[in-house]
């Protein structure tokens, strides 16, 4: 069987399984999730053995220590997987819920029912825990899923797939509800993203390069997350203490995350009151500052170039710009930002209200740290990713983002007269 035949087979099996999942009861899905957790818990030895194969191959291949670390299945990480499966089992089931059953003048009653998307393809890098996370969220939302993890994790993922199948079968669900692509051929990804007859949506998780390539080649909709170039704008009427607390948290809570602040905008009228102290705080924490000319007049820092405003550093580096007005701040955010998460710090009601409308970002915040942009913090219960698109899902994507709605119409023999 060649790659194309293999992927079509997975696709057809996923499509068939999706019909069963769309109609199954909540308890059955939850039973499967708990049974998967049990299989993983009891299969630790086998999982770690398979993982060791990947680690050995990775070391031989010269993977970086950071990559090897992400690849490793420690006991603590296995615990987290088991716990995660129980948590997803505990989430409420979005599927089948009917809302807004209103009567129309014609006499029909119409509303919307939440339904699964069908088959989801997930493409991700060599982190085995994503296998379980993605599988559990897709299953809970009633979708079949095809998982294509990084080739460096192939043995770990194949072993996890066996735990998943065991759990599905125990609950009486098709083992093909969750399928791991068990060939490492690169063409498998191309096949996966170009079979709209079998796959309804692709969710890529990984670096920007990977996601851009997938988006360019896909023949299937992609829920994607590119950059997280987030801003905090300190307004003329900001409470300076709040602004310092928020800016410091938004930058330093974690550097490698997409909701970290990468550029700080400061209204000129408060720059003098705000910048020296925050610069001291950042210096103490080891954050490198790159400022515009006006910033450099007030604090000691590197020069920010035009390119800096576009950058997602994912590092202890921050660009700072002093702006002359609210409008300049908003224009800067909409031009250089990535439409991910942007915050204003202000005490002015009217300015806050204007910012909410004007900032074209998936999350717009007033007097809160960008670090809150996260599915769990937002109460979604889970997160498959953060979408920087506007179509279908925007911002943190939880179970609802993996669903659609269909119309349901009730009548009593009603026909349309005209």
């Amino acid at each position: 069987m060649n790659v194309s035949e293999y992927m079509s087979k997975l696709g057809q099996q996923a499509r068939d399984a999706s019909r069963v999942l769309a109609n199954c009861e909540t308890a059955q899905k939850n039973n499967a999730l708990v049974a998967m957790a049990d299989a993983i818990n009891q299969g630790r030895a086998v999982l770690k053995q398979a993982n060791q194969q990947d680690l050995d191959a990775g070391a031989l291949k010269g993977l970086s220590p950071a990559m090897l670390d992400r690849l490793e299945l420690t006991d603590a990480r296995i615990d987290t997987m088991v716990e995660g499966l129980h948590q997803v089992a505990g989430l409420s089931d979005p599927i089948g819920g009917i809302t807004d059953m209103d009567y129309r003048p014609s006499g029909i009653q119409i509303g919307k029912m939440r339904v699964p998307l069908g088959v989801i393809g997930i493409i991700y890098e060599s982190r085995p825990n994503v296998t379980i996370e993605a599988a559990s969220l897709c299953l809970k939302s009633g979708n079949a899923v095809i998982l294509r993890g990084g080739s460096e994790a192939i043995h770990s993922n194949t072993a996890l797939a066996q735990c998943i199948s065991a759990g599905l079968e125990k609950a009486g669900l098709p083992a093909t509800s969750v399928q791991v692509v068990e060939i490492t051929d690169r063409d498998a990804v191309h096949q996966l993203i170009t079979m709209p007859e079998f796959v309804d949506v692709i969710v890529p998780r990984g670096g920007k390069g990977l996601i851009e390539r997938i988006s360019a080649d896909a023949r299937v909709p992609v829920i994607k997350h590119l950059d997280g170039n987030c801003h905090v704008y300190v307004d003329a009427e900001a409470d300076i203490a709040k602004a310092q607390r928020i800016a410091f948290n938004a930058k330093t809570r974690r550097y490698g995350v997409c909701n970290a602040m990468e550029s700080l905008l400061v209204h000129e009228s408060v720059a003098k009151a705000f910048l020296p102290e925050i610069a001291r705080m950042f210096a103490e924490k080891g954050v490198e500052l790159r400022g515009c000319e006006l910033t450099q007049d007030l604090i000691d820092c590197e020069t920010a170039t035009e390119e800096d405003w576009y950058l997602e550093y994912v590092a202890p580096i921050l660009a700072i710009k002093v702006v002359a007005s609210f409008d300049e701040a908003v224009a800067h955010i909409n031009k250089y930002g990535s439409h991910h998460t942007d915050a204003i710090v202000t005490e002015n009601f009217t300015t806050a209200r204007k910012f909410l409308r004007a900032a074209d970002s998936s999350s717009v915040m007033v007097n809160a740290s960008t670090a809150f942009a996260d599915g769990f913090e937002y109460g979604l219960g889970a997160e498959i990713g953060i979408s920087t698109d506007k179509i279908h899902a925007r911002g943190p994507v939880g179970l609802i983002g993996l669903t659609s709605q269909k119309y349901v119409v009730f009548g009593d023999g009603h026909i349309r007269e005209s």
Copy 2:
């Protein structure tokens, strides 16, 4: 300026205009819509002159009478445009509404704000009224739009564009909020669907061939409507009189619409009671029937081939199949149907409930005619099209389908502790 430069210019202008539209007040949009209506009403002579140019060129080119009819701007059609603009002005504005502002354990308050998609590209055939319909819906939903109508309507569309610009300017909105592509070069379509930096979504309106080509080549999400192969399934426990009324209406109300029934499925236990009378009704109306073997045992009709089950006739033809079970009916609908609109006729509560889940269609109906699948009948106030996709919008697409939601987060200096 070549085609690519011309389209990029339109794209950049649309993007810039979209920033203004996203922030403007409802009254301003409504004023523009009413001013457009006035401009059209007062510009009848000019519009009809431009339309005559298109009609003359079309006649010379040998367009069919049906195409020439669709192209013609009669006084009645101009009245309908004027009325349509007033109606859209009267719809409530979806933009800016904030819902579900809930507090989270961290202390932040989070909800969702409805926002425009940004820039919409509409590609349609030679029906000038679509120019006004699409322009008004995009404007009301806060989106800038680039309209690419059929080349046969170029003079009519250019004249309408002037009325639109006049209306926008009178209301103080950018004239570039609505732009008509004023070159007929075919490459303009390709450009329009491959500039994600300027266009957020494409809505094609026209034949299946056009929509398939656009979907295949687009680098931008497409809200599309392919087939409308709708079914009515008459269950074992159907009220026969209701079933006859519904099936007759679903087929004969209009033949050329996407919500017309194309296949009729009948449970074997009621086939004898149901089929002869409905066959008589259809015969009287001149509808050609094509049946499976069991159908042919009961009524006089042509033979339905495997291919018939896939067909959207858009004509007075109907395929009829007798099925042995509910499951066979559902499997048939999900296999041969187009996931548009499918109805069951049954008095059984449990069967109805099962059908709602199992039929994978954008509209699922119980005891109502498929003819109701329509944005106006559903109370959307307007309809830009019907989506047979699951991503973003499914079923009739009104103003809401042209919008997205962003998260809004309020704090009081809140930071994320862990």
